[in-house]
Amino acid sequence: MKLLSAFRSSYLNRRGSTFRSLDPSSFDGAFIPKPSPSSIFWLAIHCLCCLISLILGFRFSHLVLFFLFSTSVTNNLYTTTAGVSQLLQLKPLEKANVTAKSSRVVVGRHGIRIRPWPHPNPIEVMRAHQLLERVQKEQKSLYGVRSPRAVIAVTPTYVRTFQALHLTGVMHSLMLVPYDVVWIVVEAGGKSNETASFVGKSRLKTIHVGFDQKMPNTWEDRGKLESKMRIQALRIVREEKLDGIVVFVDDSNMHSMELFDEIQNVRWFGALSVGILAHSGNADELSSVLKTNQEGKPLSMPIQGPSCDSSGKLVGWHVFNTQPYATKTAVYVDDKAAVMPSKMEWSGFVLNSRLLWKESAVDSRPAWVKDVNNLLDGNEEIEDGPLSLVKDPSMVETLESCGRNVLLWWLRVEARADSKFPPGWIIKSPLDITVPSERTPWLDSSSKLPVVTKEEKNNQPATEKRSGKPRGSKSKNNRGTQEPKTTRSRK
């Protein structure tokens, strides 16, 4: 075994820097050559071993030596990436172990244990995911909201072309909210199937009511009606004694998920910053607006929300500056100008539903909030927007560090008043063709196809889409004279 240790110490240069020489005290495997038969014999063995290792390589020479010199075998499996499947492990190095007590941990070469099927077990992966979920739930309960309250979303809506666009967005946002949601949809003009289909698709707890007036055509009147519809929804909250936080989710607004996390911090009545996107879709108009503002003050922020002083106390409200748009605001719903928000949008405020309950004792409600029962009973009219619900506006709670983060955006986009859309967006009767399928929408000027005959032929299938792709139905009545022309146009 002395020879083996000689081999080992020479191959073991730890921390591989040739800069350091091996410690002289470590050469305990060296032997001093003397002219004697035993030493010559050892020299011969040494040369033989060198030859074997040259021929067979490092790994196999160890094997040969092992078979020659050692008899004991341990039972560890050893697998390398070279694909040698089962190499018997060499006995651990027998150094003069000066351990007084026996240790089960042995120094030396050990096998690398690999189990027979070293691949993930799907049941264990499932269990691991369950553990991850549990840990994350615990984290959320520690660092997130302590006792989450339900979110009561109030949405006034009515049937129109853009309703599908808006309601889809609202529905998806509400479906993603990680808390309980009650969606109260108040619809002007009575309940309709369109809205009912959205409400049903959402798989949330919903209350869908109709409101008896039809939505007027001017933005101003519309705002008033929407306020009335919201008050109706608040009445429902009062009657059903819904418990949670009331959020005014207008159907054309866009909400971020953090909004719903942040409003959990509201105690009674809170205010948020709303980004106001007053856009008419007309780029020239925006530049003209900017031009009128170039002298003097910069364009004010398109935000509506609370404004605080340096200590975080609410001192006022920032409203959207409608001055630059004074002459160019939209009056009618389908005007091409920018739509202006009202002074204080409802969507920027959230309230605790307990404010609305009838028999909650007077002292449980804060003194700075008005008693809304009068309002809800229909004895009063809501004038000034949501701030009229509070007696002392300076006590309103500000959310998200005094509205530092804008968590929702206000936008009003509607189609032309006479725009039609398929009911339920389901195409029942066949669509009229505007582009025949054999002609590409991007015409090259050379093709002059007699369109009339082709159209008659292609009018048949009811489900033909207006795709305009050049691949087309090879209509069976292709006139022979026209074929060369059609192939030309397809190039």
Binding site: R14, V107, L142
Partner: protein
């Protein structure tokens, strides 16, 4: 009658409060009290319980070495340097050696670094010998007890065996002159030559500022199941595997390299600390030596350490109940690591995380500058204080000599 009812109510309240074991700190994670085998000792204050005298060695043993290579302040063996600095300005220090319970010898044996930053231990035995000869000849306290009330900080790979290779270290054994002294070292393995009875195991040095600066908010969900970054095969010194880490790291790689639950690789990402905070389990397998700074990092970042090192002795094992905090896996069970980890019940995992979140646990693993209450320095002093009072056998009778000054390899006897 009324008095007894009041007494009963009082007793009932006491019982109720004493059974509460988890308490909430405002807006942070609820933690659990750590009661080790020695009781609730992490928060003990050593001041007043012991007195330490620091020898004034010539600066060639400490300051000059540090000046030659300031890298010693940031590598994982820096505990010896910071220990001296701490003791010099600590209230347990006494300038009167007659009233001292413990004597500290500040000699930096792990500061002779290669260009790569790895310490060379070849001169350390001679340096230690020469330091001891100095104190034995200049002060009478060494000969009084032959070093039994002295303590040394030897944070190198195998402690006072002064070698990085395990066989050589075992062959050398602990330096004969230190046979009676208390050793404060990072190495700890049961039934091993290089772990003396009565040694204090400390964690390796990890830079506290650097770790604090990489903290991420606590609500970031932990989405990695098992995390490890480091070598599996040491191709420079052990290309085939089997020697390095006794084959355990290679086994981890071969068994789990394509397992989606195991995020293991040899890369060196810049987000290493952040990733640890997003993992539930962090592997702490042995390398060439059983201890590693990964344990400290795992504790600081709240990741449950999975310790794969047979018979390892973890830092402050008498004060910290490591069995409750980490997961111990035998090296022979490494191929079944995924089964082991996924079959841990969730309540156990949550309890371990609560224990890890305890700030006194995290403090005990660090060597902050300047020292803070409850940190590793104080735990060392607590450990030393627990060994007091010295029993009679410590003091030698006149003329009695127990140490052999000429034992050990011949090369060690050369002067330094």
């Amino acid at each position: 009658m009324k008095l007894t009812s009041w007494v009963l109510i009082f007793l009932a309240c006491n019982l109720a409060f004493s059974t509460i074991s988890a308490f909430r700190l405002s807006r942070s994670q609820p933690t659990e009290r750590i009661s080790g085998s020695a009781g609730d000792v992490l928060d003990d204050n050593p001041v007043g319980r012991l007195k330490v005298f620091v020898y004034e060695l010539p600066s060639k043993y400490n300051k000059k070495i540090l000046q030659k290579d300031p890298r010693c302040l940031t590598h994982m063996f820096a505990a010896e340097i910071y220990m001296q600095r701490f003791l010099l300005s600590s209230p347990v220090r006494t300038l009167n050696p007659e009233e001292a319970d413990w004597f500290y010898v500040p000699v930096y044996t792990t500061c002779d670094l290669t260009p790569n930053g790895l310490p060379l231990p070849f001169k350390s035995p001679r340096m230690m010998r020469s330091a001891i000869q100095l104190i034995a000849s200049n002060w009478p306290y060494w000969n009084r007890t032959e070093g039994a009330d002295h303590f040394f900080v030897v944070p190198h790979d195998f402690g006072a065996c002064f070698h990085y290779q395990e066989e050589k270290a075992i062959g050398r054994g602990i330096l004969p002159l230190l046979q009676r002294a208390t050793l404060v070292q990072t190495f700890g393995q049961r039934n091993h030559v290089c772990l003396k009875e009565g040694s204090i195991t400390v964690p390796p040095y990890a830079p506290p500022q650097k770790m604090q600066s990489h903290l991420i908010p606590g609500k970031t969900p932990r989405s990695i199941f098992v995390y490890f970054r480091g070598l599996f095969y040491d191709v420079g010194n052990d290309p085939e595997g089997g020697y390095y880490a006794r084959g355990a790291r290679a086994a981890v790689w071969e068994n789990f390299k394509d397992n989606p639950l195991f995020d293991i690789s040899t890369e060196h990402p810049t987000t290493y600390y952040e990733d640890m905070q997003r993992a539930i389990f962090c592997l702490c397998p042995l390398g060439w030596a059983p201890w590693s700074p990964r344990l400290v990092e795992a504790v600081i970042f709240g990741c449950i350490p999975v310790i794969i090192a047979d018979d390892i002795v973890l830092p402050f094992a008498d004060a910290i109940p490591w069995e409750d905090i980490g997961v111990f896996v035998d090296e022979k069970d490494v191929p079944y690591l995924d089964t082991i980890l996924t079959s841990i019940p969730p309540e156990v995992i949550l309890r371990k995380q609560r224990l890890l979140a305890n700030p006194s646990m995290k403090q005990a693993m660090l060597f902050p500058q300047p020292a803070q209450p409850g940190d590793a320095f104080h735990q060392v002093l607590n450990g030393l204080a627990r060994k007091l009072p010295h029993d009679r056998s410590v003091y030698l009778r006149a003329g009695e000599k127990l140490l052999n000054w000429t034992a050990g390899p011949v090369a060690d006897l050369k002067p330094w």
